[in-house]
Symmetry: C3
Amino acid sequence: MLILVLLVSSAMPSHHKPCKQLVLYMHDILYNGTNAANATSAIVAAPEGYNLTTLAGTNGFGDVVVFNDPITLDNNLHSKPVGHAQGLYAYDSNVTLSVWFGFTFYLNSTEHQGTINFIGADPIPLKTRDISVVGGTGDFFMARGIATIATDAIEGLTYFRIRVVVKLFECW
Amino acid sequence: MLILVLLVSSAMPSHHKPCKQLVLYMHDILYNGTNAANATSAIVAAPEGYNLTTLAGTNGFGDVVVFNDPITLDNNLHSKPVGHAQGLYAYDSNVTLSVWFGFTFYLNSTEHQGTINFIGADPIPLKTRDISVVGGTGDFFMARGIATIATDAIEGLTYFRIRVVVKLFECW
Amino acid sequence: MLILVLLVSSAMPSHHKPCKQLVLYMHDILYNGTNAANATSAIVAAPEGYNLTTLAGTNGFGDVVVFNDPITLDNNLHSKPVGHAQGLYAYDSNVTLSVWFGFTFYLNSTEHQGTINFIGADPIPLKTRDISVVGGTGDFFMARGIATIATDAIEGLTYFRIRVVVKLFECW
C-alpha cells in the first residue's frame, strides 16, 4: 500500500508553472487541559467514550479540532505572524494518522492582504501531501491551485508545524 | 491591527465585473435550550468544560454550529423563504468573534433553482467580509466568485441576520 | 415543495459535456456502539440531549459524522477498494433527512492516482442530488465539476451506499 501511496504523490503533473507561489508555516498548539494560555487549537468533538483533552485511540479517529494557528514566513514559532490559518481538521482514519482539512489562510501583512481557502485530505505519514486551493479573496481574488504540505516538526502530542507551499495556477 | 484589517477589505480588486450578482439574507436562530420550536441552528460541539446551549467563553472559541437557515430576498425573517443556507460554522478564535464557514445555499424559487457552495473565514467585527464561492449546481452550474457578507442584525445571543452579496465571476 | 425540489434537479444544464467522468460507489458503516470492528464512520458531535451511537431525533439534526469509507468500482461492499472517501457530513435539518458534505476522494489504484474534493448539500430523499467538485490533485489536478449522487442502498441505521457520478468540466 505504501508503494501505491508514493505513486499518488509523484503523479502530480510537473509541466504547469504556478502563476504565484508562497511558502508559509503554520503552527498548531493543541489544548491538552493545562495549556490554555498558549493553545491555538482544541479538540471539540470526539467519538463515544473519548474525551476532549487527548487524541481518541491510536490515530485519533473521529476527533474534530478547531484551530486558529499563527502563520509565519519561517519555521520559528516566535516570528512575527503574517496571518492566521483558521478552520478545522478531523481525524478520519482508525488505521493511520490522517486528517480531513477545511481552512482559510487569513493573510494580513505589508506584503499580502487577503484570504486563501483550502480543502483536502492529509495522509500525515507521507513526506508531502497535496490539497486543493479552492478560492481566494483580496490579493488572492479568484485564486485556484494546490498546496503541497509537509510536516516540518512535531513535538509530543501538542505541537506540530506544517510547511505549506501554496501554488496558484489561476491568478486574476 | 484594525488598520491592517481595513487594508484587507479594501484590497479587493474592483476592475472585475460580476457576470451574475444576487443579494440575499440568511437568518440564524441559535438553539439556547428553550427555543426548539424556532431554532434554525444548534451548537453541536464545544471545547472541554463547555455546554451546548451557550457560547463557550468570551468568543465561543471551539463551538461548532450546524445550521439550516431560511434565505429571504429582504431583511424580514417572516418573508417567504427562497431557499435555505445549510452547513456549519466553527468559532475559531479566543481573542475576537470569528468563525470559519462551510455551507451551501439551496435555492428553490420561481427565480432560482440550484445550489451555491461557499467556504471562508468570517471576522465578524468587520463591517464586510469576503468569502469564496467555490462551486455551484443547477442555475449556478460551475459558478465561482466571492460573497461579501455583512452582519445585518444581531439580537441578543440567539438571532443574527447576514446580508450576502453573491458575486459570480465565472458563469457557465 | 416536492415539485419545486424536482425542478431543481432538472435545472442542470445538459449542453455541456464532461471532459472526464467516473462512476464510483462509497460504502458507509456507521458506528452504533457494537460494530467497532466494521464501522467506517462515527457520530462525533450531537446536539444537547443526544448521544453518539444513535441519530438525534427524527432526522438526526445536528449530528456530525466523520468517515473514511471504502470506494469501489461496483456496488459490492466486498470488492477491492480503489480508494477512500474521507471527510465529514452534518445532518442539517429537523424536517427532512438532509446532510451537508465536505469530503475528499483519495483514489489509489492502477487506474487513478490522486484526490478529488467535494462540498455540497445532500437532500437525501431526492432520487439524485448534485454537489460541487471544487478541486483536485494528482490525476485530477485542478479539476472542477459536479457530482451527481444517488442513494444506492440503505440497510437499517448503520449501512448506506452512495453511487457517485463524478463529472469534470475543467480538466488540465
